[in-house]
Structures are given as structure tokens and as C-alpha cells.
């Protein structure tokens, strides 16, 4: 069949499907029952037009139409995060447990390094100045050591709100960056975890020597449960990406990366949510002027909650 006869025969169908597709694209209701048959005919027309090389411009038109139809008919929302409740009580803890070796490894690295540095800094008090600039150390000292330090002063609600926003902006962004930099063969993630361990170990040891152990630890224990765990989980997600590139196994690197990215997405999403919770605790609970024993008790309960939640929630029923 020649070009113009072909066009004369098909034009009415193509105009009709173009109208339908445009209506659906705009979100209007249209006669959906008409679409599949028109779309199949369109695919047929496209194949014919291309095979007979009727006209480049006509093939381009039919191709764009078929693409729009394909987008509409074959859109699939698989692997989506189902409701927040199901995600928090089932999908996220499961995803964390499926990466148990990495979770355990990063926790061991982080807390081992922090403890080792704390001990070293206890024995060699000047060590902290090799890693953290003097001004920053004295800033931290001012926050916790002096008797008129901010941790001993009541804070008003609007300052709490400011800090809540700041913690979300700062900490969740750090977690996302820790995750993404895992794509650099895991190096970026590891550097981030090591630097965090360094800071925690050195600063807590230094403050303990300066006699500010109680104001410091009672301040951080509450949100530490969610914050430290979430940062390490962001590290787990990042390492998953890096390891997929380093050791792709039987797949190509791109295929391994794709699978790793999909499986690490719930972990980084959950870590982000945990950091929002941590920001709430850090902004509204941690600065409250209550006896340290209360702070420690609540902090311990929160650590236990995190451990039980991530360790137990969402297990399949044994039946």
C-alpha cells in the first residue's frame, strides 16, 4: 500500500487515539474501553509503516503516539513503598535484617573505633587536637563543661523548633550523602563512618576528662539510639552499592548495582525516617532539664526499643 492511501486509511484512528491519550494525560476521563484495540492497531500501523519505509515523518508521528500509549497502558508501580505503617513495622526491619553481616560489621567498626580512640585520648589528652581544631574543641567545651553552659539552661519552645528543623536539614542530608557516596566503591561511606567514630570517641573522652561526662552523655543518650543507628544504616545502604560494584558476583556491574540499589532503598528511606524521629528527640527531649537518671532511663528504653523494633518487627509467623 502506498503512503497516501495508507495515511488516508489510518488517519481517523490515529486522530482518535491521539485525542484519547491527550485526555488521559491531562487526567480527564475518557472512554478507556476504546484504547487497547486502537493501540494494538497503532502498533500494527507503526510496524507496517516502518517496514515499508513509507515516510520518516509519518513513522516519527506513529512512534510518538505509540510511546504515549505504551506509557499509559504499561505503567507499573511495582516495588513501591506501601503505606507508612506497613513500611515501619514490616518492610524496613526486614530489609535491615537481610543485611545482617553488613549491619554487624559497620556497628563493630564504628563502636570499636570510637572506643579505641576514646581510650587512646584518655591516655594521651592532646590527641584530640590532632584531629579536631582547637576552636571547635573549646566551642564544644563551652556547651557542656562550664557551669553556665547551655545544657544547664532552660530553652524556649521556638528555639526547640529551630533546632528540630536544623537537625532534619543537617542529619538527614548527611545520611543521604553517606548513602550516595557509597557508589564510589564504598570508600565515601567508609570515610564518613570512620570520621563519625573518630569524633564521637575523641569528644566523649575529652569531655569525660574535663568532668562533663554527665551533661554530655545524658544529653546524647536519648537521641543517640535513633541517630547513630540510622547513620550506620545509611552506611549499610551505601556499602551495599559499593560492594555491588566491587564484587558483582555472577551479574554485570550495572545489573548488580541496580539490584543493590533497589534492595538498599528501604534501608535508606527507613534511616531517613529514623533521623526525623531522632531530630524530634534531640530538639524536644534531650535539652530538657530533668535529672540525669531520668535521661539515662529514657535513653536506655529508646535503645532497647530500637533494638527490639529492628530485630523483631515484621518476622513471618511460624505456623
Amino acid at each position: 500500500m502506498r503512503l497516501e492511501a495508507f495515511e488516508a486509511q489510518g488517519r481517523a484512528r490515529w486522530t482518535r487515539i491521539a485525542q484519547l491519550l491527550a485526555a488521559f494525560e491531562r487526567g480527564e476521563s475518557a472512554n478507556a474501553a476504546e484504547l487497547p484495540a486502537l493501540y494494538r492497531q497503532l502498533c500494527h500501523d507503526l510496524a507496517l509503516a516502518r517496514d515499508r519505509q513509507l515516510s520518516g515523518a509519518l513513522v516519527a508521528e506513529l512512534n510518538e503516539l505509540a510511546l504515549a500509549g505504551h506509557r499509559l497502558l504499561y505503567q507499573a508501580r511495582t516495588g513501591e513503598i506501601r503505606g507508612l505503617g506497613a513500611f515501619l513495622t514490616r518492610d524496613f526491619p526486614r530489609a535491615v535484617r537481610s543485611e545482617l553481616p553488613l549491619v554487624a560489621g559497620l556497628h563493630a567498626l564504628f563502636y570499636g573505633l570510637a572506643l579505641a580512640l576514646a581510650l587512646l585520648a584518655w591516655l594521651h589528652p592532646d590527641l584530640i587536637y590532632s584531629f579536631i581544631p582547637q576552636e571547635q574543641v573549646s566551642e564544644i567545651e563551652q556547651m557542656y563543661v562550664a557551669s553556665d553552659a547551655p545544657v544547664h539552661e532552660p530553652r524556649d519552645a521556638s528555639a526547640d523548633a529551630t533546632m528540630f528543623g536544623y537537625y532534619i536539614w543537617n542529619n538527614v542530608s548527611i545520611a543521604f550523602r553517606t548513602f550516595a557516596s557509597g557508589l564510589a566503591f564504598g570508600v565515601g561511606t567508609l570515610v564518613s563512618v570512620v570520621l563519625n567514630a573518630l569524633q564521637l570517641g575523641l569528644i566523649s573522652s575529652h569531655l569525660a576528662r574535663e568532668g562533663a561526662a554527665e551533661p554530655f552523655f545524658s544529653f546524647v543518650i536519648g537521641h543517640g539510639s535513633f541517630e547513630l543507628t540510622a547513620i550506620l544504616l545509611a552506611g549499610v545502604a551505601g556499602m551495599r552499592l559499593g560492594l555491588a560494584l566491587l564484587a558483582p558476583g555472577p551479574r554485570s556491574r550495572v545489573a548488580a548495582l541496580r539490584a543493590a540499589a533497589l534492595s538498599s532503598l528501604p534501608i535508606i528511606a527507613g534511616a531517613g525516617l529514623m533521623l526525623v524521629i531522632a531530630a524530634g528527640i534531640e530538639a524536644f527531649w534531650s535539652p530538657r532539664l530533668v535529672p540525669a537518671q531520668w535521661k539515662y532511663a529514657v535513653g536506655a528504653a529508646l535503645w532497647l526499643l530500637v533494638a527490639l523494633w529492628l530485630g523483631l518487627a515484621g518476622r513471618a509467623r511460624a505456623d
Binding site: 503512503l3 510496524a47 519505509q53 515516510s55 520518516g56 510518538e64 508501580r77 528555639a159 528543623g165 532534619i168
Partner: protein, 226 residues
Amino acid sequence: MIDTVHAVQTPEGVDLALRVAGPVPRALAFGVDLLLQGGIAIALQIALSAFAGFGVGLYLIALFSLLWFYPVLFEVRAHGQTPGKRMLGLRVVQENGTPVGWSASALRNFLLVADFLPLFYLAGLIAMVADPSFRRLGDLAAGTLVIYADAPRPHVSRIPDVTPVPPPLALTLDEQAAVIAFAERAGSVSPERAAELAAIPLSLVGADEPRATLVAQAAYLVGRGR
């Protein structure tokens, strides 16, 4: 053939051609989005500065959402187009041509940080140039493409109304397509160039009036006068 077309085979058995977009339009779209995000941030700062402490907290949360979720929201909710991409006529789709979902969009946008490494999106640029479908690292991990989003334009025959003349030789499909393509596009090049091009298939058109002869043959080939 070197081409920037990514073919997708549909269940109907036809290949759809996705025209992937290169680094330059994508960088421009990114720039437009950046300007828009900056504008929104400044507007928010002015609006929220009236509420002291709470305003600052809200502003920081808004800034956080703007940085990480602005592209995700638009890509999922606005047919794969952020305002910048819409302006440049681009669209984000899955590799099979279907719309992006939340997880793919979140992945490709969070991993933009990795594309930035070591500085100024060098990793992303290298990945894009090395990949036949211009995918940056985030696209590779999420399985997405950035394509040109053209609205289908009805094809209008631009072959002028001339008396059709059958070609003196039997033409293959490729040759017929070339003759038709020439006749459709002859109006968009200078008359001298059109004449020069038409004179190439000498045995087909003869020495006098090659352009008019070729257009008349094209009119015959598209089926006029029969």
C-alpha cells in the same frame, strides 16, 4: 549506525524508539530547576522570617524537602517532568519507556550526590558520555532514561501537487524511501542545494530539471494518480 535512539520492544512486538537526551539539554534543565529552587527558597525565607524560631525551623525543613524531594515529586506526579525538564522538552522514563515510580525517581535523585563526585558532576558526565543512552550513575542504578518528550505531530504530506510520473527503473524500498524523503524535505533547503541533491541519482532523473522530476516521481511513489 551511531544514533541516540534507545529501542524498546513492546509486548505488541514493535520496537518503539526513545530519543535519549544528552548532557547539554539535561544540564540546562538542571540549571532551570536550580534557579527555581533558589527562588522558592528565598521566597520561603522572606515569608517565614515573620515567625522567628518556629519560622526558622519550618524554613530548614522546607529547604531540606526542596533539596531532596522537589525533583522526585515532579518526576512522579508530573509525567516525569520537573519544571526545568518541561521547559527543555525532556522527560524521565523507565528504561522500558513506562513512567517512573517513587522508588526509581528517589534513587536517581538521591544518587545525584554520587554523580557530583569528585567535583562539578564529573562522575555523572563521564558516565553519560561513556554510556550509549546517556545515563548518569543515578540513571544506571535506578534503570531510568531521560528522553525528549515530543508531542506527536500529525504528519502532513509536504509533497507539492504535481503530475505524478512513474520512475523509469524499479526502485528498492530504501531507494523509494530516499526519493520520498527528498520530496518531503526539498522545501526546507536552498533551491541550489535541492537541485544539487536531486542530480545525484542521474540515471533516475536525467540531466534537465532533476528536482522537478524527482518530486514528480515521489508523488507517484506515495500513490498519487492511481
